[in-house]
Symmetry: C2
Amino acid sequence: MSIVYLIPLFGLIALLFTAVQSAWVSRQDAGNEKMTEIARHIAEGAMAFLKAEYKILTYFVIIAALLLGYMGASHENSDWTIAVAFVIGAIFSALAGFIGMRIATKANVRTAQAARTSLSKALKVSFTGGSVMGMGVAGLAVLGLGGLFIVLKAYFGAEAGTDEMIKTIEVLTGFSLGAESIALFARVGGGIYTKAADVGADLVGKVEAGIPEDDPRNPATIADNVGDNVGDVAGMGADLFGSYVATVLATMVLGVETVSANDNFGGLAPVLLPMLIAGIGIVLSIIGTFFVRISENAGLSTAAVQKALNLGNWGSIVLTAVVAWFLVNWILPETLVLRGYEFTKGGVFGAIIVGLIVGTLMSIITEYYTAMGKRPVMSIIRQSATGHATNIIGGLAVGMESTLLPTIVLAGGIYGSYAFAGLYGVAIAAAGMMATTAMQLAIDAFGPIADNAGGIAEMSELPKDVREKTDILDAVGNTTAATGKGFAIASAALTALALFAAYVGVVGANGYDMDGINIYKADVLAGLFIGGMIPFIFSSLAIRAVGEAAMAMVEEVRRQFRTIPGIMEGTGKPEYDKCVAISTEASIRKMMVPGAIAILSPIIIGFLLGPEVLGGFLAGATVSGVLMGMFQNNAGGAWDNAKKSFEKGVEINGEVYYKKSEPHKASVTGDTVGDPFKDTSGPSMNILIKLMSIVSLVIAPTLAGLHGNSDHKSSAKKKAPTEQVAQVRSAK
Amino acid sequence: MSIVYLIPLFGLIALLFTAVQSAWVSRQDAGNEKMTEIARHIAEGAMAFLKAEYKILTYFVIIAALLLGYMGASHENSDWTIAVAFVIGAIFSALAGFIGMRIATKANVRTAQAARTSLSKALKVSFTGGSVMGMGVAGLAVLGLGGLFIVLKAYFGAEAGTDEMIKTIEVLTGFSLGAESIALFARVGGGIYTKAADVGADLVGKVEAGIPEDDPRNPATIADNVGDNVGDVAGMGADLFGSYVATVLATMVLGVETVSANDNFGGLAPVLLPMLIAGIGIVLSIIGTFFVRISENAGLSTAAVQKALNLGNWGSIVLTAVVAWFLVNWILPETLVLRGYEFTKGGVFGAIIVGLIVGTLMSIITEYYTAMGKRPVMSIIRQSATGHATNIIGGLAVGMESTLLPTIVLAGGIYGSYAFAGLYGVAIAAAGMMATTAMQLAIDAFGPIADNAGGIAEMSELPKDVREKTDILDAVGNTTAATGKGFAIASAALTALALFAAYVGVVGANGYDMDGINIYKADVLAGLFIGGMIPFIFSSLAIRAVGEAAMAMVEEVRRQFRTIPGIMEGTGKPEYDKCVAISTEASIRKMMVPGAIAILSPIIIGFLLGPEVLGGFLAGATVSGVLMGMFQNNAGGAWDNAKKSFEKGVEINGEVYYKKSEPHKASVTGDTVGDPFKDTSGPSMNILIKLMSIVSLVIAPTLAGLHGNSDHKSSAKKKAPTEQVAQVRSAK
């Protein structure tokens, strides 16, 4: 059973790697005085936001922990320590955001400086920055989950098949709840921050004053660059930390119920497997990072960079598949049983492969819908010729259409992984998909670092070729950001489904007899409707927040242009910190209501209408959240690249249009609409659906106790897993 | 039992009323030569479209009828006559569209002429036109359903509780399928037509050439006015015909299963009730129309017109509630049982009241979200000050937010009507809501007639005060159109749910044992995802079709402006029919794929994955369709009124903006984006979800037979209803 100690070890390895790489980045040249001055401004702004955000969240964490502790203490299948797990999850999640932000605000200026030498060097610095964040997030997750599991198991004296083990996992759910709550606030708050600053800076700077992007005369430019860090780095870091933990945890919850007789780990192999896959995934991701390099003599093209990243990415995915084969064969027994569904270890491996294939297909489809030169983006470009309105119609149509193939792939993935290994298969498919999160995150995070480097290059008036190099990295970063979102939503859907299954199990195990969630019942269907509505109202709040915060930013920038003498000539100094303060204040204020909706709505529905209606609610929210996520992410990505296409000129009906042409202006409108879609509300969807599932899972024992009645309460307590396997065996 | 003959009689009364009113409209003065010439152009264009559309649909109807006939003949619980019922349903639906179009193209020019006298006269002509359509649609529906029921009952020799009665209703489902399929094509085809012409005419006429709306120099102006008739009149007529039939039918299907012992109609009271309510609703609607009048001395304000319409509308709703009380008390026995759920006749009345309340609340909420001067529209106006993009973000946020309250009302309605009278309650709530369809439709249809009258006034250069009067009617028409959509989507949701319940019953009655639709099963959940995606892809196709057809229209108008000499000076005559042909051709071509998706997807899912997955699919499609419908309808309505607000001037941050200001231009962009939302894809959603449910219901017996296996096939045939009641009674 000592294999369990390997798990936190993997986490420590990742954190060690993080420390080494981080030190390497710090040692790089940070450039001239002007550059470091600007970088300092950005870093300070970013830290100011994080400080303000974490301060508010501290209150939330304390209150939530007290409630959780009380709930845990008052229920036999839970424990007050769930509050401790929750707090640790929240702290780790915050830490993940902090590590990412810290390294990103160091790597940005060093990437700009490296770009003065070569593209290869710039890639190295920015990607190393990204991988510090990726490994940091993954390391914290594995360390936290693995470490807590060991401690709790010892504390409760839990063995496979016992009530103590159920309690251990129930308490561990608190860790995931903490992680995912912070993730939601970080994603939404960061998303509002970055887009309010971006849209605000563009509307006055580019459109009204006619100065270029990242011009130091624009008072909102620092806020804009801070936004890249708090939204695309810290927000995303917390987001993926939460997702990663939720996915592994969901598999563990189902693993506890899975009967794994005669395995070499006291029947715990199905619980350990997801953590081991995650741990090994980290090592394979570290190996993958070494593939990401381009030759010093590579020309200035995006193709070489993209190829290097793909090599790293596919490399780690293929390695994961290979290692998973050996791992599964080694630790699992020949046959397993979950809720009467018997499957083999070969089936478990099959489900992992299904997960990897689904993830890959989702990335490819997402890229198709958002990449330059492909049919969807071209259709938006063509529709820009007849004005703003047709550009918008085109983008909305592309976004809605883009739900078709991913939904079919996803449905096929659910179907396939279930056929292979039942509900455990669905969960392990998601875990397999998420195994290379560290690599995914490294690839995702290098984009905003390069974007920031370009901003610093512009503001410090570095030679034009520096910006050209950072632009190449930025362009590749846009593609990886889009595909990363496709990946995230797919894994979220599978994870939500696994959590959903876990929820049904926990409700059942706590005396509320429920065979499933029957939408044929009127009240469950009512729950399905209300759940489906949540992603709409959540998105509405998020994009409205961006619109309103951007308008406040516009007012402030206009005021500075009006009242600060010499600002346009470059002799008067803009008050950057005023704009930073506006974004900070607005984003923190406006993340509250959406966050509250996510956390409170399942609680209200559950306590008011019972566990089965809550099940319908979760299903509705998951389906609608996945669809709205894909719609918004892809529409936003496609609008963005339609606009970018004009930079090199596009041909519409035989005429070539460039920047500043009328069709280009229409495409800028689309891009601005797409900004909150793709960076605020869209990516929040995957956290939203998982967070609501986790909240439900945490309250499930209490709910079941409260609503259990003569109709529903099981006459006997749920059969222990060992009885269950005996029964299945004897039935053969 | 002779009460059943009352039902077609109500239909005949409605058609008689239609004929009388229609003759009255025809007798009105059609104005001067120029006016009649223009009206002739519009009428010809509209008929040309209808002819082209019905020609294509004839092929579809023949093929579908053959397949249906074969399917019906080969299954014991169905019959080849389902093909006949289908064809009659299709013909009646087409006829409903035709009647509406015919009267609208007569009433439009006569309304323009009446407006030369007084607002009161203009309202009278346009509203009488609308009520011809309303009564025609309702009359055909009641005549068709009632008449067919009598004929089929005699043909099969069916009595309550027998297999023959199940067969009668199964065949009657064919009537609804015919009605709803034509409705979908008419709504989508008409919606594409009207918005392609509208957007195309505006983009070149208003924006590029700078000529006003409905200017006779614009070659697309006739097509634009034709569009109002084919989309807002014929399309809507077929749509509501289909909805009305589907709602009544869904209640009948559940009525057949409902055990109504000791009633005075051979146990058939629950089957007859929805038809009787519909029939009486027609009479009450006729009474309601007499309330709709304003004084000759009424000033030129929208308030008086709105008040008159409200009086008519609320009048018929209150009368319905009162009459329903007596009707229910008279025909139903004290207690009824449906699938083991016992309820009283008081409960049935309660459910009807729930339906009326839900419909009323939906109208009020929809009006709030789309009316001028209210918070949502004001927020869009404010966001227009910072440009096109923020206007769009504002409208999208309003649309998404507008799903909140209606969803809660709807969920409450489902919950409440179920509590009152089980699944029969849910269905009868929808039927109660739809009882005053004739009145609703009259109120809805008068708007496009007035809109057309304004166009004719403009083109024939009538005095300015004529247009002022038609504009007042048009403005009121916009509000009633928006509230009508809120009503339609609510009734569609309840109807879809009733059909869903009926589907589960029919599957069970045909030997496939299914307790419900359990979304906890992976395959059912996969179906839920795919179903949820359908409204997205359907909307995408619809709005893209509008975008592309509008672009073709733009090209043609530009060509005419370029090549026809003297066109701008009014000496050269534009080729109106070329534009009419473009809209006609494009709309018919582009309605095919969305139509095919709606009809084929449930068939494919059902045969490939079985009845329970199809259930999940239907639930997903219903939830997502309702939400997407509300989102798109309300966003479109709010954008429209935000734009209209600029006509009288709006204050933003202390400054007043009028037409042609920059914020107004931004609002025009929003309105153009909203056009396909609110008139093409949005209103199609309610037909889509019902059509897919009806298709599923029709194929249910075949599906159940095909997929029945050892796991699922009931050992014994479903208990006959009489046994069922005995069982429930004895259990007490």
